[in-house]
Assembly symmetry: C3
Homo-oligomer: 207 residues x 3
Amino acid sequence: MSEAVYVLDLFGVAVFAVSGSLAAGRKRIDIFGVLVLALVTALGGGTLRDLLLRDGDVFWIANTVYLLVVLIAALFTFFVVRVLTIPRRWLLLFDAVGLAVFTMIGADKALAVTDSGVLAVVMGMMTGVVGGMLRDVLLSEVPLVLHKEIYATATLAGAIAYVVMVTLGAPYAASVVVSIAVTLGIRLAAMRWGLSLPLFALRKAKP
Amino acid sequence: MSEAVYVLDLFGVAVFAVSGSLAAGRKRIDIFGVLVLALVTALGGGTLRDLLLRDGDVFWIANTVYLLVVLIAALFTFFVVRVLTIPRRWLLLFDAVGLAVFTMIGADKALAVTDSGVLAVVMGMMTGVVGGMLRDVLLSEVPLVLHKEIYATATLAGAIAYVVMVTLGAPYAASVVVSIAVTLGIRLAAMRWGLSLPLFALRKAKP
Amino acid sequence: MSEAVYVLDLFGVAVFAVSGSLAAGRKRIDIFGVLVLALVTALGGGTLRDLLLRDGDVFWIANTVYLLVVLIAALFTFFVVRVLTIPRRWLLLFDAVGLAVFTMIGADKALAVTDSGVLAVVMGMMTGVVGGMLRDVLLSEVPLVLHKEIYATATLAGAIAYVVMVTLGAPYAASVVVSIAVTLGIRLAAMRWGLSLPLFALRKAKP
């Protein structure tokens, strides 16, 4: 992982920690509960990815700077939100940026370990969405990713974009930028224009 | 794993993927949310088993055919259900078949790795029920396995049957068939006649 | 792990199994559902810790006595509670003892494997709280740890106490006792006097 991607990864962890902390505001959660939600949201996806890939230590065990970033981001959010009103749109924006960065990094790590494009796409999506899924499950809500406009679609497209770019021999930096741009672009467009895929409902028998 | 058991395993993955997809119809879930639910339901139990047993790669990482089967089963369900009404009984039947197959395979893998009958029973049950538990948790419901007629009982009996058969030196094929028959028989009988174990409720203090 | 700590660990597993079983009484759960909840509550935290630390087998796979303890504790609870009314206070007390013991043991194991104080604190907390979180999530409730008076605070303080004692070169027994006393003391004090941290709520825009 290049230095630039490492910085992006820390940034993704920070924004997901903020997203987890802000989500805590939806329920009556105390400050350490906020910290737990921030940790789960920011580290959950990458932790599952690293457990599955079995390639050395889980990232935040190998490098505890990630824990420090989550701690700072959670405390920052907790205290700032007591003074400032943060619009819900910001939460969704933070979530979208984290999703784009984590998707790319998950695909990148999986490709390095398994050399399989299919697994890279699955691991990219997993890294992007699992933290937020755990966040929502802990708050007793149906995860955003299951029903929200074009959420899984965005991470799927971003992961595929990364794998295709790398397979075509594109420079590393270009692959990184294109993947993030694809995920973020689709997700922001979906939010901006309220796009969504057709929902799935079981047909009810006629009375 | 013999060829016949591999085919059974793929079949179990397919029916659990269908079960996960159909469950999505209970909430407002889009097509990629359906795919996520199908993946979690079909692969969740075996993934936890393989992570715990630490015996080589997780099955769907070692062989990505499993991912393909989930994808096809989920898409098939998504589009077929738009045209045909699938009775709820079928969902329960698919779930029962998946439960029986996964219980046997989990017990088989654990026995091969740990040589412990107790662990084989626990891993068999875990492989059978964890996917469905995750499915229900993601949909914000109390898992079927915790309160439904004779669900955990069926998988427990099937896992024990497998371990006993193998310990007694029965042929592999016989052990496989008996284990599946036991789980499936108990589960179907429970569904057919609405059997259930006594439920557990805390005694309330008299007013 | 010394013999005394091994006994404490078994005790922690037993009390968390009781706590998981009693929680089942809040919903309509059958006897095997009770067993599943007991297993998840008693073994969940340590399992995640061992998966993350990657240091040999997960504790209950290496030593199946843990499974036996959970089984006995769950059956005991199931049948005793049918005859005796157990006050809710006892459930909270059992939960507090399990939290204190597991926090210390998690910090101890992580310190032995990683030699990092920060990871020892995180792993201590994780070992203490994850089982109860899974229990509450399976029952479709927001986990106690996220909103209950001084729950995460107690485990955080106990884990830090252990790491500080060990770093200062205190005898093993003293570190163990002080850590457990700190977690338990804070948790019981919080329960006794209903202490809680300020809760976090998003500010609503003025109408």
